[in-house]
């Protein structure tokens, strides 16, 4: 990306500082002058929203850790005390618990945005793969965080998920058991397990923050994709990040916060499970163990395969396959806007994922299992069959000459007109 910082130190101190640590120059170059495509729609505001989510989770989480006690005897009560006794604890705790769900809503929209507009295609492969890593670390963090209240769902969720590794016994006898006991620090899930999960739950968000910096760095090297999927070719295709993209991001963020706050203040427990307000009991399995909603599609894939090892492999493969998407998609056109056939398959994928999410919450029997298998099949077929084959046989629609030609009535080439980029028209 060809861009430079227009930073000019305004005082002698700023000049002195800039010669020694040019952090202001870096900030101005990356966050103010950075050229953004002029046609970005609101789906591109989710990067900023996700950055906000991570910061909010870290802030509320640090506060919660001041009041939480990571022991099997005290964990459940300390969470209840946070909700009832700690000043504003109810609000901070709700922000953290609901925040996890909001984080995942945003990340799923962000991922599907990338899939629709081909944001994973060259030269953004590394950017995309770092994104997949972020998603994985996010899932690990959320999983360990959900263990901390030490309710029935916490306990049994940990039991079921850590036991996934015991399927390694089917490859080398005894290895799975050894790994699971190593994770637990005992022969069953216990306070020892809770304690280490707490430690890792505090650590991983900072790993995430590091990965996010790499993600943004990679983004600022290749530049943002946009609804046309075309590269920025002339100055007229781009607008500076501030105020244009920043202002748009702010509008998106505030709309998102409206939804966020609605859940925090009016439906704080709606996205959770009532059983998690029963303290963990190693002798009673809840009649129906379900993970949090954001894991349901993966849980459905796990249960769709009638073999333990097979189910575990399919579940992990469903994420690993995303790493290879940049090479599985053979189309030369990035944006699905100009791919008349792929567009339909994209929505089929969305339906399959939503369907798997619904089925993940249902008992594993009868028609639910059959539909889980159909959707699981499509999920993998989409990446392994549709993407490679469709790219070769599909005739894309003609692409606009440039980004500005796609949004400006004059056909582009002119100077930016007005503050906001013209809305995308279909």
């Amino acid at each position: 990306m060809d861009h430079t910082s227009n930073y000019e130190p305004k005082s002698s101190f700023a000049k002195w500082w800039d010669d020694r640590l040019p952090v202001m120059r870096l900030m101005q170059g990356q966050l103010i002058d950075f050229p953004t495509p002029r046609n970005l729609n609101y789906l591109w505001t989710f990067g900023g929203i996700l950055t906000f989510c991570l910061a909010a989770q870290i802030m509320t989480g640090v506060v919660l850790a001041m009041h939480y006690q990571p022991s099997a005897a005290e964990a459940f009560n300390s969470v209840e005390a946070i909700r009832r006794d700690v000043n504003y604890g109810w609000m901070i705790r709700n922000f953290h618990a609901v925040g996890a769900s909001m984080f995942f809503i945003a990340v799923y929209i962000h991922i599907f945005r990338g899939l629709y507009y081909g944001s994973y295609k060259a030269p953004r492969e590394v950017l995309w793969i770092i994104g997949v890593l972020i998603f994985l670390v996010m899932m690990a963090t959320a999983f360990m965080g959900y263990a901390l209240p030490w309710g029935q769902m916490s306990f049994w969720g940990v039991t079921v998920i850590t036991n996934l590794f015991s399927s390694l016994n089917e490859i080398i006898s005894g290895v799975g058991t050894a790994v699971v006991q190593w994770l637990w620090g005992g022969y069953s899930v216990s306070g020892t397990t809770l304690n280490r999960f707490f430690s890792l739950h505090y650590l991983l968000p900072f790993v995430l923050a590091g990965l996010v910096i790499l993600h943004i760095w990679a983004l600022h090297v290749s530049g943002q994709n946009n609804p046309t999927g075309l590269d920025i070719k002339t100055k007229a295709d781009a607008v500076p990040m501030y105020p244009y993209a920043i202002a748009k991001d702010a509008v998106g963020l505030f709309a998102f916060l409206l939804l966020f706050a609605w859940f925090v203040f009016f439906l704080p427990d709606y996205l959770g499970h009532a059983d998690n307000y029963v303290e963990a009991n190693p002798l009673v399995t809840p009649p129906h163990i379900v993970p949090e909603w954001y894991f349901l599609p993966f849980y459905a894939i796990l249960r769709a395969i009638p073999s333990k090892l097979g189910g575990v492999i399919a579940m992990f493969a469903s994420i690993v396959v995303l790493v290879f998407v940049p090479w599985l998609d053979t189309s030369r056109v990035r944006s699905a806007k100009y791919r008349p056939l792929y567009k339909w398959f994209f929505w089929l994928l969305v339906i399959a994922c939503l369907g798997l999410g619904y089925l993940g919450a249902k008992p594993p029997e009868g028609a639910y299992v059959i539909w889980s298998r159909i959707f699981t099949f499509y999920y993998f077929a989409h990446f392994l069959l549709v993407m490679p084959i469709l790219g070769l046989i599909e005739t894309p629609k003609p692409l606009p000459k440039s980004i500005s030609a796609s949004v400006l009535p004059s056909g582009g080439g002119g100077a930016p007109q007005g503050a906001a980029a013209a809305p995308e028209t279909r």
Partner: protein, 190 residues
């Protein structure tokens, strides 16, 4: 590129030895950080438990604890025993007896999962071999699944009256813990 191969000299030896030393040192340093997560001696030194079976009447079941795991103890009825003994080995998804005191190749006959002369007592680790839930079937009124044994509600595994997997995703039969009768009505597990 020269086709000539240089003879290893003293410096090559020092470099290889030095790097090997660093690698071994790194592994040795890393090991405590891995091993600290394993069960410690306190968790391993688990006393065995003795359980009195005399209050358990025919058809009843109790759940005991051993190593933090639930132990299913069922006093089986003659019909349940007959049902368990009648199953052909070929019908079983897992054909190993899964008895901790017998080799892994022992066939999953009912006789290999109980003690001689005490065939009414079925003693099992009550953890589903799929993903570690506690199967239903111990309490009165619980669903016992399609085969009259236990039913795991998490992912729908059915166990028969010998605790063998018959249907569902669980890969193995419920495990028989190491135990012995210390008297006619008392067992010692572990």
């Amino acid at each position: 590129m020269t086709s000539e191969v240089e003879d290893p000299d003293r410096r090559d030896f020092l470099v290889i030895a030095g790097n090997a030393f660093v690698a071994v040192g790194a592994a040795v340093t890393l090991w405590p950080f891995v091993a600290q997560m394993n069960p410690d001696a306190g968790a391993q030194a688990l006393a065995s438990v003795e359980i009195d079976l005399s209050p358990v009447k025919e058809g009843q079941a109790i759940t005991a604890m051993w190593r933090g795991k639930p132990i299913f103890i069922r006093n089986r009825t003659p019909e349940e025993i007959k049902e368990a003994e009648a199953v052909a080995i070929a019908d079983l998804p897992d054909q190993s007896a899964r008895n901790d005191l017998l080799p892994e190749t022992t066939p999953a006959l009912d006789a290999n999962r109980v003690k001689d002369g005490k065939v009414n007592w079925l003693i099992l680790i009550g953890i589903c071999t799929h993903l570690g839930c506690i199967p239903k079937g111990q309490a009165m009124g619980d669903s016992r699944g399609d085969f009259g044994g236990w039913f795991c509600p998490c992912h729908g595994s059915h166990y028969d009256t010998s605790g063998r997997i018959r249907k569902g995703p669980a890969p193995r039969n419920l495990e028989v813990p190491p135990y012995a009768f210390v008297s006619d009505t008392k067992i010692k597990i572990g």
